[in-house]
Symmetry: C2
Subunit: 369 residues, 2 copies
């Protein structure tokens, strides 16, 4: 393992690689840093037995030391499907879809959860807890099952039971919490602190979790044959996936693997867009008042952790990226397009990225090639 | 392409690689044969751009000539997960789970459907039709969407609408048919004949479809590092997956890649076990009278195509394999075991294989190592 410490993204203060959820002095988001110089001379990917294309291929850049602690259902390594029909219809030449439904639980969440649960096990925790709008619940439940750990999940009361069915099958305890996602977030946080359980909520709270997200960047680099795309369009709730993928590209640049950095696009729904609002208005991120969207997976009002959104806005501005919001009707149309034209069955939160792309094409923000 | 012809599995009569669903002279099941001698000097796997682990890696052993006709959502190449907890609890050392949920539509059906739809396109068809109890419907719909072909699906009226939701999203036309799966099968057959549509029903009807199934064998060979497992335990409706995987291993033996052949186990539900009944009683396969099981995905009474079951029984007897049936309560317990102990969310049809394995262990048919 080359991970060295946790570092505050705001004040740069350092902490050892233990259980920390925020900077003690400024409450900033923590992230894992590595001894990049030591990694420099080594390939970032382990040569796993073929076909070992999963996140642990990149274990040199993951913060888990103890191999016995690693919990894996062979997550990641998802296919990059070249769009044929959508690309033609949208008059864009090179459109690729990273099919994250091909993960163990059916969503990208398995990347951050696999890393966070492995770290929890390495740190000696027996219970993991998360707040989730559904996908994180399904994911955490299966990793906790595989790790034989106890698993407690807080979901907003409006979460469709179908979305937590998977978690129930894997033996997780589901607790419904009144109100929106931010309430569940707070409940998970307080409960974890009180009982000293590991909180693996996949916002920016757990600094190990978004290390899993960044593996998307390494995989894209490999799947594009050592090149990086011009744009990466990403659905965003609190935005750790956006931040994580960007971190992955930054690390590859630091390691001399690429000069170019793709521009990131954080996509939110009109009915819950604290990040897009702040980005557009040039203001600080403030909590979203009233969540109203079909895209529940990306509907995070950020109440109580507005700073997370702030970090994403800052990252996008520095990166030359964008944050934008799309209305529900365009999200549903994009779902339909993905299903009917590409054969991909996406949920609204995921389809939002295609709705955003369509807007970017209409606004000429993206070149046809 | 090294495929040379279709050959009757009963009377050995040959046909060109066109649209044929059964032997004209004896009504036997047709299968694709290859010029194995010409393949002999070549690797069976194409060197695809990394990480190109999907069924088309094995295109030398697939019956599609025209590359432009190939329809792919990067199916196959599914992970082989080493069981930890189930293996421990069942006191068996080397248990591996081939996680077919990691296919584009969430089931192994994408293998046969990808090949059959590609062949339909190569043969110039614009419409594909299938009978399905749900999984085949979800699969065909997405491949037809990607291929921009028309898609018509016959499902038993009892099929849960949730199971065909995916197909609807991808624009397929769903037709509900009274009675059990065999009725839907007959409707698909007659409609396809009448309108001259390609019938890609994934029983033994379409000889190209189970060529997709056999890629599981090649992948296992690769994932076991050039070795083959002792047993392969497979859920079975009509049994093309059992037959297909066996064909894959036979071909590898023929090509000198392995001496050993794994023993196949065809698993059915007690409430619909025409193959297991015939295997146990040493009788011919007769149609199952009344389907009564939660495992709808493997509930095929074989009425009107009993010969398909016959082919599976013959294959298992020659292979030293087994056919066995498990009751619903054991299937549900196995589902629970998979969810709670391995973090795999399996439907009853898939979990039946674990219920069967448990019985095999109890009966000492399988060694602990």
């Amino acid at each position: 393992m080359f991970a060295t410490s946790l570092k505050c993204t705001a004040c740069a203060r350092s902490y050892p690689l233990g259980e920390h959820y925020a900077c003690d002095s400024c409450n900033g988001v923590l992230e894992v840093t590595y001894d990049y110089q030591a990694i420099g001379s080594k390939p970032i990917a382990e040569t796993l037995p073929e076909p070992g294309f999963n996140i642990w291929r990149y274990r040199n850049l993951l913060p888990v030391r103890d191999e016995a602690a690693m919990v894996s259902l062979l997550e990641g390594g998802t296919p990059l499907v070249k769009s044929t029909n959508l690309a033609t219809d949208y008059e864009i030449e090179n459109l690729y879809l990273k099919d994250e439904t091909r993960n163990p639980s059916g969503a990208f969440k398995d990347r951050p959860i696999a890393v966070a649960v492995s770290k929890a096990r390495e740190l000696g925790f027996g219970t993991v807890v998360t707040a989730s709008s559904g996908n994180g619940a399904a994911s955490l439940a299966i990793y906790a099952a595989k790790a034989r750990m106890r698993c407690i999940i807080f979901v907003p009361e409006t979460t469709p039971m179908g979305k937590v069915a998977q978690a129930t099958v894997s033996g997780a305890t589901i607790v419904k919490v009144r109100g929106d996602y931010s309430n569940s977030f707070r409940m998970a946080k307080e409960t974890a602190e009180h009982f000293h359980w590991m909180n693996v909520t996949t916002t920016f709270l757990n600094p190990y979790s978004f290390e899993g997200d960044k593996t998307v960047a390494y995989e894209l680099y490999r799947q594009f044959g050592g090149d990086v795309p011009d744009w990466v369009v990403i659905p965003a709730g609190a935005g750790p996936l956006v931040y994580g993928i960007h971190k992955g590209f930054l690390e590859m640049r630091r390691l001399g693997l690429t000069d170019a950095l793709p521009r990131m696009v954080a996509v939110q729904a009109e009915g819950c867009k604290p990040i897009a609002r702040a980005f557009e208005n040039g203001t600080d991120v403030s909590a979203w008042e009233r969540v109203e969207t079909v895209a529940s997976a990306i509907a995070d009002p950020l109440r109580g952790y507005e700073k997370d959104g702030q970090l994403v806005v800052r990252t996008l501005k520095a990166n030359g990226g964008l944050a934008l919001a799309v209305p529900d009707d365009e999200i549903l149309a994009a779902m339909d397009d993905l299903g009917k034209k590409e054969g991909i069955y996406a949920e609204p939160g995921a389809a939002a990225s295609i709705a955003a792309l369509k807007r970017m094409i209409a606004a000429d923000s993206v070149r046809s090639d």
